[in-house]
């Protein structure tokens, strides 16, 4: 049911629209960063860096807007839960944006001498995190928790793949000391992806609170 006060309704809709925009930008950024990993395209990497500015701006815009609504409207019940969660979720989204930028920047520095299996594994890891981001944002926008378990499991998969990847890169580094800087970049990118998974887990906790009115006991 819509709010009797149309202006208030439109203010809340604006927040939702900005969240959708932030989420869709992040998904695009993620896809671009993974493409850089494959192509080492410096121009595309720079575009990812530039676009991150827009995500940061949205973070501040939404934050200011939520602050205003709280002051002017004194929201309660599901409106309050939505605004409260939004404030926390946009911080995670903004941090995910930073990790994606970091991946794009580091990807350009990885030399072509590195076996492609590493970049492929990293791309696969990134895709897992990208799907996780997409699914979590859908849960948020559609206010449903049906995919929550699937998302949590995907985070476990990412953690596991990250651990295996690190071991493999370390083993490779030991044998090839000329690729230590490249290997370090690979490890840092893997870590960035793993952190994205953690932020998504945070977001899912907020979505749970938004829908259920309490944090999950898991």
């Amino acid at each position: 049911m819509k709010h009797a006060d149309k202006f208030y309704e439109s203010q809340l809709n604006t927040i939702n629209e900005k969240l959708v925009k932030m989420g869709s930008l992040l998904e695009k950024q993620f896809a671009s960063a993974l493409e850089v990993l494959d192509s080492r395209d410096e121009q595309l990497a720079q575009k990812v860096v530039d676009n991150d500015h827009e995500i940061n701006l949205l973070n501040h815009e939404i934050s200011d807007f939520v602050f205003q609504i709280i002051a002017m409207r004194q929201p309660i019940a599901d409106d309050l839960r939505f605004l409260f969660c939004t404030i926390k979720i946009i911080r995670d989204l903004e941090r995910i944006g930073d990790h994606i930028t970091s991946i794009a920047k580091k990807a350009t520095r990885v030399s072509k001498n590195i076996p492609s299996e590493f970049t492929e594994k990293l791309t696969n890891l990134g895709k897992q995190a990208s799907i996780m981001t997409h699914d979590a944002l859908n849960c948020l926008f559609e206010r449903r928790l049906s995919q929550a378990d699937k998302i949590t499991k995907r985070d476990d998969i990412i953690d596991e793949l990250h651990g295996t990847f690190i071991s493999e890169v370390l083993a490779y580094m030991k044998k090839h000391d000329d690729v230590i800087p490249d290997s370090l970049s690979l490890i840092q990118m893997s870590k960035a992806i793993e952190r994205v998974g953690d932020h998504i887990t945070n977001i899912m906790e907020e979505v749970h609170f938004l829908i259920e009115g309490q944090y999950s006991s898991d």
């Binding site: 709010h3 009797a4 309050l80």
Partner: protein, 252 residues
């Protein structure tokens, strides 16, 4: 947790029109309970049943049971005057008598024959005004007319008048709707203070006020009790969608 007032299967009719539908709701002693809901939902009718204010409305018929500390308040043996000694009421608009501040407070104790002695009456007046947080502001002008006070002070005078007859329960029907934010916050602070000694039931249209002052909240809609519970729960995650819609302003 002890119940002060228990209502069971309460039905209220104005002629053929049913205003309250089978409501059972208990009020905890020394707690503030807020009754909320859109206009015409029956919350004021319900409140007025609690001290038989509806008795004066000819077409009003009350069925069911209301008890105060186990005493059936609609029993034939109960005198309404005696009941209202136990259950005081403060109204939407401050309504001091056209008498002095002193006499406004002393009126109730006088007609209920609490005392004949001037010193004892002085003490009742002073204590009541102190409990209502008004004494310091009026102690030097107790002979001034009650109506000469500001709106907020008049409402506190009405609260002092209610307290003076030592009630157990105070009913408040939108007590701050005619007051400015400062006077409102003084009354709200007073309500929090008063619950140490009294059970308070307040009807309010201000969601923020209900959230600020009450321990329990009951939501009424079309004469039905939709939901009641801890105020902190009702205003963060109500169980019923209708409650959520109303408190967030989604009611059409």
């Amino acid at each position: 947790m002890v119940n002060s007032i228990i209502t069971k299967n309460l039905n209220v009719y104005y002629g053929d029109q049913q205003a309250i539908h089978n409501i059972s709701l208990d009020f905890l002693k020394n707690k503030v309970t807020a009754l909320i809901g859109p206009s015409g939902c029956g919350k004021s009718t319900f409140l007025r049943c609690l001290n038989r204010m509806n008795d004066v409305i000819d077409i009003c018929r009350v069925e069911g049971n209301i008890s105060l500390n186990g005493m059936d308040i609609y029993s034939k043996e109960i005198e309404v005057e005696h009941l209202r000694e136990k259950i005081g009421m403060v109204f939407q608009k401050p309504n001091p008598f056209p008498k002095s501040i002193y006499d406004n407070v002393a009126y109730g104790p006088r007609i209920h024959g609490f005392t004949d002695k001037k010193e004892e009456m002085d003490l009742i007046v002073e204590t009541s005004l102190k409990k209502a947080g008004l004494f310091e502001e009026v102690k030097d002008r107790l002979d001034d007319m009650g109506t000469s006070l500001s709106g907020g002070q008049q409402q506190r005078l009405c609260i002092a008048r209610a307290i003076a007859i030592k009630p157990e329960v105070i009913l408040m029907d939108e007590p701050c709707s005619a007051l400015d934010p400062i006077a409102t916050s003084i009354i709200e602070e007073l309500i929090t203070d008063l619950k140490k000694s009294y059970t308070i039931i307040i009807v309010t249209h201000s969601m923020q006020q209900a959230a600020r002052v009450s321990d329990k909240t009951a939501f009424f809609h079309l004469g039905n009790l939709i939901e009641e519970g801890d105020t902190s729960k009702i205003f963060t995650k109500p169980d019923h969608q209708k409650t959520n819609d109303y408190i967030t302003g989604r009611f059409g």
